[in-house]
Symmetry: D3
Subunit: 331 residues, 6 copies
C-alpha cells in the first residue's frame, strides 16, 4: 500500500503533561510537529491550560495517558478537549494510551460508579469526537463510548521484540482467565503453547493462584507471563512461585501497561527467576524507577500508524483488539 502521510497544515498534535515523550514520538512517526502547550496553576489550584497553535478547522490529536496522578491528568485532558472544541477544531481525537478507568467497568457492589462509562461520557461532553487507546481491560468497555472508539493492541511490538528468540521448552502463561485469550493470540504468534492461572482473590490485597487451566506447565523450562497491566506486581509474584514449583527456571514478564506503583519494580527484580520485564511506554516510567532488566517498548509506531490510517480513511483492522475473548454465540 502506498505510503501517504498527514498534511501538516491539516493536523495539530498536542500533549498534556502526563507523557510528552510518547506524544513527541507519535508526532515524529507522523512527521508532523508536536505543538507546544502552556500549563500552569492559579493560586487556588485551578489549572490554566493554553494550546500553542491555532486549531480552527484542524484535525486535532490530543495525547494524554491516564496514569497517576490520574485525576490531574484527566482534568487536563478534559480542558484540552474543551479548548479544541470551543476553538472550532474540525474533529478532536482523544489519544489515551493507558485508559486506567477501564477497570471500573461494572457494578460489583451497590451504589458504586461504573466509572469507565462516566469518563466516556465526560470525554464526549468535553468535545472528543474519537477515542483511541491501547488494550482495554475488557472488550465491553468499547460499548461505553457513543463516539467511534479504537482500542489497539500492543501485541505487534512484543512479537517483534521476541522474534528470533530460542523458545525451546517455553510456554506462555496468563495469570488468570481474563487474559487467556490475549495470551493465546500472543502465544500463537510465537508458535508456543499457552496456559492460564486459576486465580482466586482472597482479600483485596491477596490473591491465590491454585493451578493452571488449559495446559499443564510441568515439563516446560521457560515461561512468558502475559498480563494486560501490572500495578503492584502481587499477582505476578504469586504466579512466579507457582511456576517455579512446576519446574520453570526462566521467566519473562510481558505486560502492556507497566503501571508499577510504589516499589513494584524493585519487588519484581528481587525474584531471581524473572529474567526480564517487558512492557510498553503507555505509562511513563521515570528513569530512577527503571531496573536493569526492564525493557520498555514504544507503542508510538502503533498509535501513530493507527492515526495515519484513520486520517487516510484506511481500515485499522490489523491494529485493533477484536474482543480478545471466547466467541459468545451459538452454544
Amino acid at each position: 500500500m502506498a505510503e501517504q502521510n498527514l498534511d501538516p497544515s491539516e493536523v495539530r498534535i498536542f500533549s498534556g503533561s502526563s507523557h510528552p515523550q510518547l506524544a513527541a514520538d507519535i508526532a515524529r512517526y507522523l512527521e508532523v510537529p508536536l505543538e507546544s502547550t502552556h500549563i500552569s496553576r492559579f493560586s487556588n489550584d485551578n489549572l490554566y491550560f493554553q494550546l500553542g497553535a491555532s486549531v480552527r478547522g484542524r484535525r486535532v490529536y490530543i495525547v494524554q495517558s491516564l496514569f497517576p496522578p490520574v485525576n490531574d491528568h484527566l482534568v487536563e485532558l478534559l480542558m484540552m478537549l474543551d479548548i479544541a472544541r470551543s476553538a472550532a477544531a474540525k474533529d478532536i481525537h482523544a489519544i489515551i494510551p493507558y485508559f486506567s478507568f477501564a477497570r471500573s467497568d461494572k457494578k460489583d457492589a451497590p451504589r458504586i460508579s461504573i466509572t469507565a462509562k462516566l469518563i466516556a461520557d465526560l470525554l464526549t461532553t468535553a468535545g472528543a469526537t474519537h477515542f483511541m487507546t491501547m488494550m482495554l481491560h475488557s472488550p465491553q468497555v468499547h460499548g461505553f463510548f457513543s463516539i467511534p472508539a479504537d482500542p489497539l493492541t500492543a501485541r505487534p511490538v512484543f512479537e517483534m521484540y521476541f522474534r528470533g528468540r530460542d523458545f525451546t521448552d517455553a510456554i506462555v502463561v496468563a495469570p488468570d482467565m481474563g487474559n487467556a485469550k490475549s495470551a493465546g493470540r500472543f502465544a500463537n504468534s510465537l508458535g508456543l503453547p499457552v496456559a492460564a492461572g486459576n486465580k482466586e482473590r482472597i482479600t483485596d490485597q491477596e490473591v491465590r493462584i491454585s493451578g493452571f487451566v488449559g495446559r499443564q506447565v510441568k515439563g516446560f523450562k521457560k515461561a512468558l507471563i502475559y498480563d494486560d497491566e501490572v500495578s503492584t506486581g502481587s499477582s505476578v509474584i504469586e504466579l512466579c512461585r507457582l511456576l517455579v514449583q512446576s519446574g520453570i527456571e526462566d521467566i519473562s514478564v510481558v505486560s502492556t501497561h507497566g503501571v508499577f506503583v510504589g516499589n513494584a519494580l524493585q519487588r519484581l527484580s528481587q525474584e531471581a527467576v524473572i529474567k526480564e520485564i517487558v512492557t510498553t511506554d503507555t505509562v511513563d516510567i521515570p528513569p530512577e524507577k527503571r531496573t536493569s532488566n526492564l525493557h520498555v517498548l514504544s507503542v508510538a509506531p502503533i498509535m501513530g500508524e493507527a492515526i495515519r490510517r484513520n486520517y487516510q480513511r484506511m481500515s485499522i483492522e490489523g491494529l485493533f483488539v477484536f474482543g480478545e475473548e471466547e466467541g459468545e454465540f451459538t452454544d
Copy 2:
C-alpha cells in the same frame, strides 16, 4: 420489613405480546391489575398498538421479553415506550426478563454493531426511564445504559427449588469460565463444590470442552450444570459427555434463560444422564415443546419484588447481580 404495596391508582402495568403470562404473574404479585392492550397489524405489516388505560402522570411498567421473534418483540416494546412517553407518563420502566441482545456486547470483528449498546440507546430514545432485566450476559452491559438499570438474579428461585435435596457426591459445574462465578455463588448456597469446563470453540457450530478448571470432577456422582442461557443445547450436551467420562451418573441442567431453539429440548431429553432441566419463565416455552423432565420456575416473584422495592424506594440489593465475576482491582 413492613409490607407495603403499590398504590393501584398510581401505577399501570402493560404487557407486549411476547409473554403476557409472566406479565400477569408479576401484576398478580404486585396486586395491581394488568391493563389491556390492543395489538394489530396494518395491511402493510406495520404494527398498530394501543394501550388500554390512561397513563397520564402514572408510573408505567412495560413487560416485554426479547425472545424470538426478537425484532417484532423489540419494535412492539419501542412503540409501547413511545406511547407512554408521549401520553405523559410520570416514569416508564422497561421490564425485559430476557434481554437477548446482551450477547452482542463487544466488537470481536470489524464493522459489526455492539448491538446491546444500540438497543440500550433506542430504548432510552423511545422513552424508557428505567431498565430491569434478569441475568445479563456480561456485567459490563449494565454500563451501556444511561438510565438506571437493575439486572436481577434468578438464583433465589433455583435455591428454593433445590432446598432439602440430598446432594451427597454432588458438584456444580459451569460449562465455561464465563459462568464460573455465578455457578460458584449458586454452589455456595447449596453447600456444594464447583468446577468449570474449559470450553474451546472449534467452529461456529462446534465447541470442545477439554477438561475442568478449579476442581476435578472425578469422584462425584451427581452434577448440576449451571449456565445463564441454553439455546441450541450443544454446549450442555458436550459437557454431559465429558462428565459421564468423569464418572457422573446423574445430571441436573440449571439455566436462567431457557431459549431452547428448534429441537433443543428434544435433544437434551435424549441424553439419559440428564434427569431434569430446570429453567425459569423469562422465555415463554409453549406447552407443546415442554418435555416431561422440564421444570419451569417463575421469576415473577423476583421481578415483582424488585418493582415493589423500587416503587417503595427500598434497596434491591439482595436481588441484584453484582458483577458475578472475579474482583478486578489490586492485582
Copy 3:
C-alpha cells in the same frame, strides 16, 4: 449541467436484505460498487450484521426499504446505521425507498404511537445524518425528522412510461382527496383532466366511494387511477366499479408503492377493466407474485440522481415532492 460523478474512494454503498436489487441498480447508476454485507442470525434469533468494506471517513449510503417483514428490515437498518456511526463514517445516508411507517403520522385514537415520528427519532439515534425516501404518505412527515430529509417523487418515471400514448377520452382519477394534488400534477404533465373519488371508510376493512370531486367522469373512456400506495387493493377495486358505472372501459392503475399484500395482485388481475398495473420497485415484488399486466418501473435513476446531486452539492429541487397538496396560507 456538466456531469460529475461520485469519487468511488469517497463513498460506500450498502444494502440491507430487503431489496439488494434496487441497491445494486442505484450503485450502478452512480458507477460505484455495491459493497458486500454479511447477515446471519444467532441461535437466539438476534441478527448478526457485518459491513464488507471500511467506512472510516467515508460518505456511507445505506439502502433498505421497509416492506414486510417490516420489523426485521427496520432492525437491520438500525444496526447498519449504528455500525457506520461507530466505525467513524463521515456522514450516513438512510436511503429508504418505501418508508411504510409514514402512514402512522397522527394520533387518531388515544394512547397510540405516532410511529413515523418514533422511527424518525430511532434512525437519528442509530446514526443517520440524512434521510431520503420516495413519496411520503403525508408531507408533514418531513417535519418529524430533525436531520435533513429528502422525500422524492416517482412522477418522472411514470411520465416517461406514458409518454407518447394516445390519451383521447382519458382522465386521471385519485381514489380520494388525499392523493388529489399528486394526481393533479401527474395529470398536468400528460395534459389530462383530473378527478378524485369521494372515499368514505365504512369499517376497517371496507370503504365506499360515493362519487367524484372536481370533475365528472362521465364522457371519458379511459382512466388512470393514481394512488401513492396499493396494499390490499380494495380501494382500487371499489373505485374501478364506480368508474365502470360511469362509462370507463379501460383502466391503468398507477401507484408508487406496490405493496400488494397477500393475493392483491391476483384480485386486481381479475378486474377485466384493468388493462395494466404500473408501479415502481420501491417494494420488491417477487417474480412468482407478478402478473402479466404488471409493469414495474425502477426508481433507481431518481434515487441515484438525488444521491449524486446531494453529493455534488447541487439542488435536488426537481426531484423533490413539495407538499403535493393545496397551498395553505392566506385564506
Copy 4:
C-alpha cells in the same frame, strides 16, 4: 366523576401579555389565582420579564396565545418558559390557545422552514415539558413535538351554543376538504348533513370554490360554515357567494380561531347572508373590532378542564382532537 380541584400551593399560573383575559378565565375555572408578571422593555428593545411568584418545585402553567404581533408573543413565551425552568419549576406547561405556526407544517417550496417544527423544538429548549393547544391546523403537527402534546377541540362550546336551535333545512359546510372531517363531527353532533367546498387556489390572494363535495347543497336554506381559522375572510366570502347561488338564505360562520386581520370582520359583516359569526377567544379580539353579529365563546372551560384532568391524572380523551380526518390504513 368526583370533582377534584388543583392544590393551589402546588400550581402557579402565569399569563404573557397576549391574552391575560383568557388566562384569568382559565385560572378562575381552576379556582387558583393568576399570578402577576412584570413586563417591560430595555432601551435597546430587549424584553424584560419577571414572574411575580416563586415557582420552585411548582407545576407551572404559562398561557400565551400566538396571534399578532406573533414574534413578540413568541419571544415572551420563550422567556417565561426559561424563567420557570431555571427557577426549578417541577414541570412547565405551555398553554398556547392559538398556535399559529401550525400552518407552516410542510416544505411546499425549496429552502423554506417547517416553522411549526422549529417552534416545537424551541419551546422544548426553553423549558416546556408539556404543550396544550386548541385545534391544530393539521393533526400531524402533533408529531413535531417531542414532549407530550394535547391538541384540544372547541367543538363542545359550539355544540352548546347551537343546542336547541331550529335547524330545519340546514347543512354544515366546510370550505375545503381539509376541514371536512371536523365539520362532519360537528354536523353529526347537531344531527345535520355535511358538504365541503372544492377549493382551488388561484393566486396567493385569490381562491375559487368550484362546487361541493359529498353532498349537494341545493334544497337547503341555512348553512353553517365550519372552518378552523378565519384570517382575511376571503375563503368564507367566496363560499358564501356559491352558497347563495345554491339557494342558501341564512349563514352562520363558525370558526375556532378568529384571527380576523385588518378589516376582515367588517368585510364579513357586509355580506347580508351572514347572520352571525361564532368564534372562540383563542385569539383576543379587541372591543373596537367586534361587530354586532360576532359571538365570542370562551374556551376557558375546555382548557381549564384539560389542565384539571392532566393535573388529576385523568384521561382527557373527550377533549382531544383525534386526527379529525379520514382514517388512513387498510385501503
Copy 5:
C-alpha cells in the same frame, strides 16, 4: 501572509431583513455574491422566509443584527438557521453584528431570565454551528455558547479613523468601570491617558456620575468618550456635563453599537461640546436619523476578515476581544 479568498462555490451568504447593507458589504469584502432571500408574512402574521440559493453541503453565513424590532429580527434569524440546517448545509455561521441580548447576562432579580443564555441555546437548537459578533457586553457571555464563538472588536476601525489626529491635551474617558479596560486599550493605541467615570444608577431612568477613577481629568482640553453601546444617550450627556465642569472643551463620542433609540441623536447633537459622534454600522441608522456630526464606520472589513480567516483556518487572534477586563487570577 498570502491572501487567500473564499471559494465561491463553497460558500453562501444570506442576509435577514435587519441589515442587508452590512451583509452586502461583508460579501463584497469576501468577493462572493450576497444571495437573495424572499421574506413575507402570512395573513396571520407568521413569517414566510425562503433562501434564494441551494445550501446543500455549503458553508453558510447568515448575517442578522439584533436591533429593534429585536424580536422580529430574532425569529427571522432562527428561521434562516433552521432552513440551512434542514437543507443540509455543511456548517452554519450566525453572524450577529449587534447581539443586543448580551446585556441580559445575569440574574440580578428573582425569577427573571438570563436571556443571553436562552438565546444562545435557541440559536444552537435552530442550527447555528458557529457564532460571530462584535463587542459583547461582558466577556462572560462567550461562555453561554456551547458552539464556537468569536466576539470581535471594532477598535481597529476607530484607530484608523483617529490616526494622525492632533491629540494634544486629550484624554480617553469611559463612562463607567465596565468599559474601562476597552477604553484603556483604545487609549493605548492612540498614546493617550485614560480615566473612567464613577457611575451610579439612581433610578432606572437616571444615572449620576460622581467623579473619575484612575486619572483626574482636570488639565485636559479634549476628551474621547469611549462606550460599547449608546442607546438613549443619558449616560453620555451626564458624563459630558461633568467633563465640561472639569474643563473639557471638545468631546468625541466613540461607541461600537450606535443604537440611538428615539431622539437620542438629536439630544446628543444639542450638546455643543460634542464635536463628533463616531460609531459603527453594527446597527443600521436610517439616513433620516443621522446628524451632521455623526460618523458611521463600517465593521464589514473586520467581520469579513474574520470570516475569511475562519474559512482559511487561520487564527483570528488579532480581531478577537480577549476579556477586555482586569486579569483575575493570583490576587
Copy 6:
C-alpha cells in the same frame, strides 16, 4: 413563617472527602443524618467510591467544596453524582460551597478554556439536577449552567458577626471595582461608607493599587477590607499599605472564601494593622494553619436554610446573590 423540616425518609445527604465537617453541620441544621461513604483508591490511582445508603427515589444532596487538591475533589464529586444518577435518585443537588472554577469565566487569551462553563457541563453530564454555591466570582457564571443554580451570599453571617460593633470612623473598602457592589451592600447593612481600590495588575504575581474610587479614605481610622476570595493575600497586603498611608490604623479583613494558600495566613498575620481576619468555612482551613486573629464563620446555616427552602418549595430570594454589580440597562 411556619418551620417545616425535611422528611428524613425522603432525603439523603452525602459528603465527599473535601469538607465532611461542613457537610455534617449542614445535615445537623437540617436535622437529617449525614450518610456514610466509603472512599479508597485502586492500586492504579483510580478512585473507588461507594455511597453508604440507598438513594433510590430519594432527593440526594452531595456536598463537596472545590479547594485544593481541586482535581481530586472534582473527580470525586463527578463520581458521586454519577452513582446517585445511575442508582435512580429522584433529584441530585450539587452543593459546592467554594466553586473555585468560577474564576475561569472568560477567554482572555486565545486557545484557553472557559473552564467554569466546562465544569458546569460536566456536572450536568454526571447527573446534577441542581447547583448551589456561595458567592460566585462573577454573576454571569450563573448563566453557564443549564440546570437551576442558586448562588448564595455569606453576607448575613458577616453582618451578624459585626452587629453591635463600634464603627466610629470606619469605612468598608473593596480591593478593586469587581467587588465594589458586594462591598457596598455589606457597608450598607452596617451603615458605613464604602470605597474601592483602583487595582492594576503589573505582572501575574504583582498588583498595584494606585488609589481609591468612589470615596476618599482620608479621615477614617478603621477599615473593613471586603473581598470575595483571599488566596495568596498579595492584594490585601498591597491594599493595607495604601490604607495605612491614608491614615487607617485598624483593619478587619472580611472574605467569603478563605483559600489562604501556602503561608498566606502567616503573611497576613505579620501585618500589624490587620486586627482580625474574618472568613467562612466554604474552604476547610486545617487547625495548624489557623492564626489567632482568624475567625471562621460557618455558612452551614445559610446553605442548610437554602436547602430547606428549596425542599419546601419556598423562595430563597433573601439568600441569593442578585448580580451584586452595577445595573446594566438604560444608559
